[in-house]
């Protein structure tokens, strides 16, 4: 599997994503600077966590207008896989590659802690190595992860099996509607989620629940 990690000036999980991809695939991902308007030929694009351009406006709003995002959109339209984690998820909703929006956490505070989620769907390139209903724990670290969408959209996401991760009952860290932690695009090739799978591939860091996501991608995209 060939992969690329997009680097905005204030991305700060770009290295974490790079290390996880290297560890899981054995190959260094391409690191693509935000001013690039073209991409190397890759199977997977990762939009990492961080603060893109400072995010003093709505998180990801400026990033959605960047040169590199035009290339990411083209990649997604061709059916290429895109994984947006944390700020990457925010950039995906701002870019309309995913529906809904990520608002400030309901308690108005930044939150960093491990959260337990249920894997709701496994019929996609990101989670096929998990089992449906499996409980997984990833850390979250965000101030704006409160997923909202209108009722119709939420119903549709659920009806079409596009809610991939849901916070376990009582473990919703940010007030997200219907405990939604991660969703798929209509074509099921774009996944956005707030928790960080790339921080969970090394047992020394507290667990390896994130590995199966990379294993799923490698199996499908290699």
């Amino acid at each position: 599997m060939k992969s690329a990690v997009v680097v905005f000036p204030a991305s700060n999980c770009d290295r974490d994503a790079q290390v996880a991809l290297k560890q899981m695939t054995g190959k260094d991902p391409h690191m693509v600077w935000h001013q690039e308007s073209e991409f190397p030929d890759v199977d997977l694009v990762v939009l990492p966590g961080g603060f893109s351009y400072g995010d003093y406006l709505r998180c990801g709003a400026m990033a959605s207008q960047s040169a590199v995002m035009r290339a990411v959109k083209a990649h997604a339209e061709r059916g290429g896989a895109v994984l947006g984690v944390c700020n990457g998820f925010q950039v995906l909703t701002e870019s309309h590659l995913l529906p809904g929006a990520l608002m400030r956490n309901a308690h108005l505070k930044f939150v960093c802690r491990p959260v337990t989620m249920t894997v709701e769907e496994t019929q996609n390139v990101f989670t096929r190595k998990y089992s449906k209903g499996q409980k997984v724990t990833f850390p979250v670290a965000h101030g704006e992860g409160n997923y909202v969408a209108d009722e119709e959209t939420l119903d549709r996401l659920e009806g079409e099996g596009r809610v991939v991760f849901r916070y376990a009952p009582g473990d919703n860290p940010n007030g997200s509607s219907r405990d939604i932690a991660g969703i798929l695009s209509e074509k099921r090739n774009v996944l956005g989620l707030m928790p960080h799978p790339e921080r969970m591939v090394d047992p020394l860091l507290g667990g390896t629940d994130g590995r199966a996501m990379f294993e799923s991608l490698i199996e499908t995209l290699s």
């Binding site: 204030a10 991305s11 966590g49 930044f110 020394l204």
Partner: protein, 728 residues
């Protein structure tokens, strides 16, 4: 030009004698710009004029120390060509006036101190002191400071891995915000601030200069009063996005060989960076302020020289390398300007709009800065044993676990991104945080410690204890303690009783650091922490760093197995003077603080570290605030495993046994057979110890002759206070 009147001199925080000395040095009156420059360079904050003579007594050397005090941060060798660069610094006064921005810019400032030396910041810690919880300002200050620290550090993508939070009424009008940054560099790629040579370009990089923070250093060198709110305009505003760009751009520039010297513009911005760089380089600097990137129109030379706008650096480049450097800063969309040149005149010369606005000998600002041996009057240390009555141990424990100083700090550290960079192998909540040296199996253990109530009772023993506890916390995770940075927070040094706290505190730090081979490689003094004449408790915060060779051999506080024996290592005499028990249960703050036997600290600690390093033990917790009872409860709660313990045949009564704060102690849990072997080794080594119990299947803490309490009940007490207080 404005005439300098005695009022103007006083407004600049200079005494009549200091002003007379300036005139002698110059053989003339300074102009206003020059007076402003003197006022910051000779301020307590920049010159350490009350403490320099005493700080000189601290031990600063060891074979592994690469850079001791005097640079932007200290540097130690952590093997394989890696160097660890770290420092702790206060941002107390601004944080009281505007908690979010004060704390945020404190974080930004200390990060610049570390990355200006060529290091990538890899972890942040902090030491925070607030007023009593019932004070009307405390909740607002806690909320603002915590979100300010998180707001800056999280955006930078540097994990904030722990710290301390205390409450005490002495901080009601003067909180303490001490931030520590730890960075990593290659040993042969460390950048210093000596602007050597003449004719080299002096370049300005980072944000534009505005009028913010003018006289911040002077403000930090005076007491507060009721009208300190009016000083809000002197607090700077942080921009972590720009700092992130500055970090990456600086590291990119540092990968070239274009830099001769570099320093961040911290307190007193352009003034202190240019004067200190020229001083260290044995050179002079000539600045042309017309070239300085400016945020506002019509800024005067005085404004620019005293501005504390954030996210700026000054560098001296090799001649001809300007274009290469500029290209890097343009890529990161930062300002870059050549604003001066180094000279061989040993003078700081400042030009603005074609006129010479300052022309000062560099040594007048540095070597000639006042150095005081202020009078001090030592107060007798609190003394005497305290006696207490019999009381229910478990009920007292529950009360203590729910008290503001002992309860879980989860509410605080969940607002800090503590896992970004994917190298945090021990998260907040343990004895020390541990971060992996990226790409290796090595770990750096980091802690901040001080027990101000001990320091108030006895500044000397209290300061020793702060060092010993930092050393113990690093040891308890299995790392070898290597060096410290000290952040000395005290009241007004012009009061002899405060000066005595400073002098004896420094002596205590010195003695402990010498005995433990734990040199001081940098630090910061924050004096005048008083409001309306009331001083804070003496608070010499110690930031310690240690190294473990293999992070697979690391201990944590969490109990891991049923059937482990619980070993208490060290001498338990039941010292209750100045204890948490006395304060929280009996409402008293009296008696002597626990004495620190440094030989026992070293002997016991080295024994415990060896157990961890050899993979024999993975569960250790040091005994500190709240004594053995709190230590045991924290171990049980962290692991979700119960235990059955007793006083193990000692003659000490239950209350002093479980709540005494004797030093040099650890609790270790290990499988029974291993514990037996360890016990015989302890006996052979002559280390006092006892097996006090074992872990059990029931989720309870059971104490012989006292009964038992469920872990869920203890957890509710421990976790409940902070969120209930902050979110009520």
């Amino acid at each position: 030009m404005t005439a300098i009147t005695p009022d103007i001199v006083r407004e600049h925080g200079l005494s009549d004698e200091e002003y007379a000395h300036i005139k002698r040095l110059l053989n003339r009156e300074p102009n206003l710009v020059e007076l402003g420059i003197f006022s910051v360079m000779w301020s307590e904050h920049c010159s350490y004029k009350s403490t320099r003579v005493h700080l000189a007594r601290l031990p600063t050397k060891a074979p592994w120390v690469i850079q001791g005090p005097g640079e932007n941060a200290g540097v130690i060798d952590v093997g394989d060509g890696d160097a660890c660069i770290f420092k702790m610094e206060s941002h107390n006064h601004p944080s009281f006036i505007e908690p979010y921005q004060g704390a945020a810019t404190g974080v930004g400032g200390i990060m610049r101190d570390v990355f200006t030396m060529g290091a990538r910041p890899i972890a942040m810690m902090n030491a925070l002191r607030f007023g009593e919880p019932s004070h009307p300002k405390t909740r607002h200050l806690v909320g603002g400071v915590v979100s300010g620290i998180g707001g800056y550090g999280n955006c930078m993508g540097v994990p904030t891995v722990g710290g301390e939070v205390n409450f005490h009424k002495s901080y009601n009008g003067n909180i303490l915000v001490n931030a520590m940054c730890i960075g990593l560099a290659r040993k042969d790629r460390i950048f210093l601030s000596a602007a050597k040579g003449a004719g080299n370009p002096v370049v300005y990089i980072g944000s534009k200069t505005g009028r913010d923070g003018i006289h911040g250093a002077t403000m930090a060198s005076a007491e507060f009063s009721e009208d300190s709110e009016e000083k809000r305009p002197t607090v700077q505003v942080g921009d972590p996005f720009t700092e992130k760009l500055l970090l990456e751009a600086c590291l990119e520039l540092m990968a070239t060989d274009a830099i001769i010297a570099i320093q961040d513009m911290g307190a007193a911005g352009l003034t202190s960076s240019s004067a200190e760089m020229a001083d260290k380089g044995g050179s002079g600097i000539e600045l042309d302020l017309d070239q300085v990137p400016q945020r506002e129109a019509n800024m005067t030379a005085y404004d620019m020289m005293l501005s504390e706008s954030q996210e700026r650096m000054l560098a001296v480049l090799k001649p001809g390398r300007e274009a290469q450097a500029e290209a890097i800063f343009r890529k990161w969309e930062l300002d870059f300007a050549v604003i001066g040149v180094t000279t061989d005149t040993r003078r700081l010369v400042v030009k603005h709009k074609g006129a010479m606005v300052a022309d000062l000998p560099v040594t007048a600002l540095s070597d000639e800065a006042p150095k005081y041996k202020r009078p001090y009057a030592e107060q007798p240390a609190a003394s005497g044993a305290v006696t207490v009555g019999k009381r229910d141990v478990l009920a007292s424990l529950k009360t203590i676990l729910a008290s503001p100083d002992i309860c879980s700090r989860r509410w605080v550290w969940e607002q800090y991104d503590n896992t970004v960079m994917a190298d945090t192998v021990q998260r907040p909540g343990g004895d020390a945080a541990v971060v992996r040296v990226h790409g290796t199996q090595k770990g750096l253990a980091i802690t901040t410690d001080v027990t101000p109530r001990y320091c108030a009772a006895d500044p000397y023993e209290g300061a020793k204890q702060a060092v010993a506890e930092a050393w113990r916390n690093i040891t308890a995770v299995g790392a070898k303690p290597l060096a410290v940075t000290d952040n000395l927070n005290f009241g007004n040094p012009q009061k002899p009783e405060i000066m005595a706290q400073i002098v004896r505190g420094i002596d205590g730090i010195g003695e402990a650091c010498r005995a433990l081979d734990f040199p001081v490689i940098g630090g910061n003094c924050s004096l005048y922490n008083e409001t309306n004449g009331e001083a804070i408790l003496p608070t010499p915060a110690i930031g310690g760093v240690g190294l473990m060779a293999d992070i697979h051999r690391m201990a944590t506080v969490a109990l891991k197995r049923e059937g482990d024996a619980i070993l208490l290592i060290g001498d338990t005499r039941g010292h209750l003077g100045q204890s948490i028990y006395l304060r929280e249960i009996e409402g008293r703050e009296d008696g002597a603080c626990p004495p620190v036997d440094l030989a026992a600290e070293r002997k016991n600690g080295e024994f415990v570290r060896k157990l961890i390093e050899t993979g024999r033990v993975d569960t250790v917790h040091d005994v500190s605030d709240g004594g053995v009872a709190v230590t045991l409860a924290e171990m049980a709660l962290a692991g979700g495993i119960g235990m059955d313990v007793g006083v193990a045949g000692t003659t000490v009564d239950a209350v002093p046994f479980f709540f005494g704060e004797d030093q040099a102690r650890y609790v270790v849990a290990a499988p029974a057979a291993e514990a037996d072997r360890i016990e015989s080794e302890l006996r052979a080594a002559g280390i006092i110890h006892a097996i006090i119990g074992r872990t059990i299947a029931a989720k309870v803490l059971r104490i012989e002759c006292e009964g038992e309490i469920g872990l869920s009940e203890l957890r509710a007490a421990h976790e409940g206070w902070f969120p209930a207080y902050m979110d009520s």
